[in-house]
Structures are given as C-alpha cells and as structure tokens.
Symmetry: C3
Subunit: 172 residues, 3 copies
C-alpha cells in the first residue's frame, strides 16, 4: 500500500525500506500483553518500525498500580478493574489465580521476561508506546496514571494514520 512517493519506501527493487507493524492491544490479559511484546521484539529485531497502541482493557497494561479515576462510577470501575502494568490475570485458566500463579512461575523458570520487563525492553529498542485518549477519558485517568514508557496519548485517527501502509495485528 506504499506508493512510490511514500517517504518510508526506497526507490529500488528491494521493496519498502521500512516495514511497519502496529499492534492494537484491546485486552489486558497477561497472555495478550506477552504476545504483543513478543511480536514487537521480533519485529524490532527485523528492522520494523513498531507501534504498540493500547485501548480499552489493554490500557490496564499501562496503568500504574493504584491508579483510579475521579467520578464515583469511575472509582467503581477502578476497584473492579484492578490489574496494572505489573500484574495481570490470565484470560483463560486463571482459576481464581492458580493458573496465573503457575504461568508466572513457569515463565520465570524458562527465563521469560514479565510483561513490564518486555515492554521496557521494546520501548528502549525503539517501539512507540501509545495510550488511547478516549479510554483514558472514559476511565477518568490522566497521563500521570500511566507508566513512563508511554510516548503519547492519542485517538483512533492517529492510530489509523500510524497503521497506514503497514501491518496491523489486533490482540483482543
């Protein structure tokens, strides 16, 4: 979908100079965060331009512990929705925490990083981390409630612009 005039493509026969991968993370489950970071790190290693866009429950993955909104409904959602960048439940086989406990132990025993560690690495290697402005507003949160890796707070139009001409993978 790149045209010849696109600044991200080279004019030669070798195809686009920079491939881009945009990961749209709509789920806050531990396995979805892990999948996003695994794909981000592989893409960075292959020279892709990478953006991680977190929206809806995916925003939990960027929340500082204890972050909560202002209104009473938002405080209620904050209490119900306690996961954050340092702790997520499994989307499947969570089993009141037993499956989660086993998965965390298993990942550690195999030397796999936690979501937060992988996010920090991906960010340091150049992945752009974006939080959805609509979700932030809905939950009554501000930029301060998010981890420092967040490069930008932006909406759906900015997401589409960034995704334009590249590959999009949704984790929902």
């Amino acid at each position: 979908m790149r045209s010849e005039g696109d600044p991200h493509t080279s004019p030669g026969l070798g195809g686009p100079a920079v491939q881009s991968l945009t990961l749209l993370v709509l789920s806050g489950d531990m396995e979805k965060g892990a999948a996003a970071c695994t794909l981000a790190l592989a893409a960075l290693a292959s020279g892709y331009r990478v953006e991680l866009f977190f929206s809806f429950w995916g925003l939990n993955l960027l929340k500082q512990p204890g972050a909560g909104g202002g209104g009473s409904l938002q405080r209620l959602m904050g209490v119900l929705n306690r996961d954050h960048a340092g702790r997520q439940r499994l989307g499947r086989l969570n089993l009141l925490g037993v499956g989660r406990w086993a998965m965390v132990r298993l990942m550690k025993s195999r030397g796999l990083p936690s979501f937060r560690e992988a996010l920090t690495t991906a960010h340091r290697l150049g992945a752009r981390v974006v939080a959805c402005s609509n979700t932030l507003e809905l939950l009554g949160l501000t930029r301060d409630a998010l981890v420092p890796e967040v490069d930008e707070v932006a909406g759906a139009a900015a997401f589409l612009e960034s995704a334009r001409g590249g590959q999009v993978i949704t984790l929902s």
Copy 2:
C-alpha cells in the same frame, strides 16, 4: 498491495486514492462493538472505504431483540444467547450485569453513543454493514432477524474479496 492497475488507486504519485478498512467482528461483547464503531467512524472521517463484517458471536450485534432460529437446538442457542443490537454484555468484568450497568452509565455520562447509535451513524456515513451467511444459517436466522442497517448477507469469500488490498482489523 495495490497495483497500478487497481481501480481503487490513482495513477499519480500520491498513492492509493481510497484506502479501505475492513473490520471483522467475531465477538458480540459490548466493548468489541464499541471498538469496531470507533475505528469505523475514525476511518470514515479520514476518507477510508469501510466495511463492517459480523460473524459468529459478532452477529449478536446485528440481531433484533427476540430473534430466534427454527430447530430445537437453534431455539436453545437463541435462549442461551440473548444479546442483540440494543444490549450486549461486557466481555470482561460483566459481573452478572453490575460491570455492564456501570459501563453503560459511564458511557452515557461522557456523552458516548451506544453501539446501536454508533452503528447507525457509521452506516449513514457510508460504512457497509455485512452479516455472515454461514452464521445466519447455523443459527437458523434470516435477514428479517437483523437490524435494517445490514446492507448484505455474504460469506467468507466475499469478505476476503472486500478486504483485498486494504487493512483488516479483527475484533474477537
């Protein structure tokens, strides 16, 4: 993936004249419907050609209230699977309806449209709304069971044809 001979591209250097976005909605959860409509509206505003293709549980988002199929197994699925265009449960934190109630109130208090309102707007602005023929047949439903915004009932081959050369975002 557009070639110069593609009717959707302009011959100039400015790249494709029309970008297309196809949203494949496989989940009937309230948040997935909201995400689909948010992306559809943003893409329409940016001049994209937009198609919303609803399949599997996503078809719930197009069902009229009370729609049910013919056979006894289909009636059983209809009873179990009561969500429709005007009412969806949350995929996460539904909490027997408490989370859903809080989310609906929260969205209203922030002036956000319901799924049905957003679908109507997207459709009026030019989004094509397609229901999966296989799912309809599986559930024993006909076109009459669906909201009037549905432009077409079609299968996987038609989905691939429409998605060809454009961007696909799956909400599952």
Copy 3:
C-alpha cells in the same frame, strides 16, 4: 507492499500473482478454530497462499489428546489445559459443556466439519500449518505431541517473515 522484485508478484498490471493470508491463532476456543479454518478454506479457494500460525492457547488446537509437558508446573498446566485438536470448549456460552454440546450437535446437523476435519482439508489443499516454538517450549511439549498436519515449528521472526506483504488476521 510487494516490490517488483518479489517472487510472489507478477510483473504485469494485474497486481500480485499470489496474495497471501496469514492466520494468527492465539485462542484455542472452538469458534476461533472454526473461524480460522473457514477463512483458510475460502482463501485457498480464491488462490491465496495460506499459513495458519498457532501460538499460546491456540496451540491446544494442534495438541494430540493426552499430550503433557515434563516439569511439575508443566504437568499442572497440562492437567488444567485439557483441550486438544479433537475437542475444544466454546469461548462463550460454554456453560459447563451444555453450550458446547449444543454447538457441536448444531454444526453436525448442518453438515459442518469439526475443527480437526477442516484443518486436515485445509492442509491437504495447501495451507501451511505452523506451531509456535516458544509456546511449545513453555509448555514442555515436543513436536511429537502435535497432530501430523503441523509442517513446521517456528518462532515470531518466522511468522513475521511469512506474513510480510500479505494480510494478517488474528483470532484471539
């Protein structure tokens, strides 16, 4: 995103000679497996090159019955995580197996294939079936634990390479 030098594109005006579709299956739910196979079969019928990449819970769809890992945590995960290529729960309305039972009966009564049957057909028609090496290692499984349709065990970098220039649909 194909360049003129790409072996999969024709030099003519008709655009890419071979479109590719990569299905990233991150969920082991019955309906996600069915969606993946439906899309794979439609794409094969339209002449696409198709790859099915199974990762995380999606690997359940490739497991032989009774497959289990080596360490004690891996054995625990194996006991909790009993689904396999021949039997999956529904991601929604499973209802301790009632919804699953109704769905399986409904699919049979409409002449629809099971996931396993559809996978075998897709594979015979040319779809490439790949299992995620990281997930295998995490669960302590080897190639022997998987169904014979698996063509390759590979990681995220191989997935990105295969998806390059084509369409990616995530089922998560």
